[in-house]
Symmetry: C2
Subunit: 168 residues, 2 copies
């Protein structure tokens, strides 16, 4: 309903993969099995609406609409996951950063991003290290493609075309 959350998966030695950042309106936490495999953490003051799982398991005709919405939500999650696998498996560091910024701008409907997430969060989302993320931002800024505000609190995308060109 407001705020921001990430969901992640952990490896035994604490390597972390952040699946997705969730903002207002996003649905998350849909798991199929008996146990939850994902962790979730709020990265700023956040309010979420929680629905008990049995709601989704009902098959009564009256819930046909809800069921359809569930299918839609799952479908979106899935295509986003596929997109992200393409990013993780194929793209270079700069391409990953550019793609990340573009997708964020697209989802927030704004070319000025105020990022609640840290460099470490971004790194774990993109399969990079914190230093590589930082260096990539610096590089993009030097090229004039983005502009970081004071305190690195916000990022303005200055050249969408350039960013799209960077993203393969």
């Amino acid at each position: 309903m407001s705020g921001a959350v990430w969901t992640s998966r952990l490896l035994s030695d604490s390597r972390r993969q952040i699946d997705k950042f969730h903002f207002v309106g996003d649905v998350f936490g849909l798991e199929s099995g008996d146990e939850y495999l994902c962790s979730a953490e709020a990265i700023e003051d956040t309010v979420v609406a929680i629905y008990p799982r049995h709601i989704f398991e009902s098959v009564s005709p009256a819930d046909a609409v809800l069921s359809g919405q569930l299918v839609t939500a799952l479908g979106h999650s899935l295509s986003r996951a596929r997109e992200h696998m393409l990013l993780l498996g194929c793209k270079t560091a700069i391409e990953k950063i550019a793609a990340f910024l573009l997708s964020l701008a697209d989802r927030l409907k704004n070319t000025v991003l105020t990022r609640p997430m840290t460099r470490l969060d971004i790194a774990d989302h993109l399969g990079l290290t914190i230093e590589t993320v930082s260096r990539s931002f610096t590089h993009l800024e030097r090229e004039g493609l983005i502009e970081t505000g004071t305190g690195r609190r916000s990022i303005s995308l200055r050249d969408m075309r350039g960013l799209r060109q960077l993203d393969a």
Copy 2:
């Protein structure tokens, strides 16, 4: 129904990410948007059953069961995708190969794998190169964890515990 298929996504310069290998009984090709973003290709003689999309879009009460199956299938695809993102984002080459072999053995319910896919397919699935895949197999064989048959047509998993230990 029989055979083997992979689904993949392509980048403009023909870098490829193979999402998943599909075998008998697997459901694939569920896309949410108006256009298909995935390619699919059979890697051996294959027979598939095709269902027109509108079947999944019906919300009539009679289709409640089908709808439930759809949700289940989507849920499985999603959790598999999440698992694969963890692999792509966090794991090393050897860990990727070990995880891949284990998951294949698990899905085929057999520790002897006859692989229809090529080294290039595996590489594009795991975000590696063909040479790294080859070297990893050689390494695992030297360590006695696997055994490759003549012509590299099959791979026997000799030490499941060792492989699981390699996979983080």
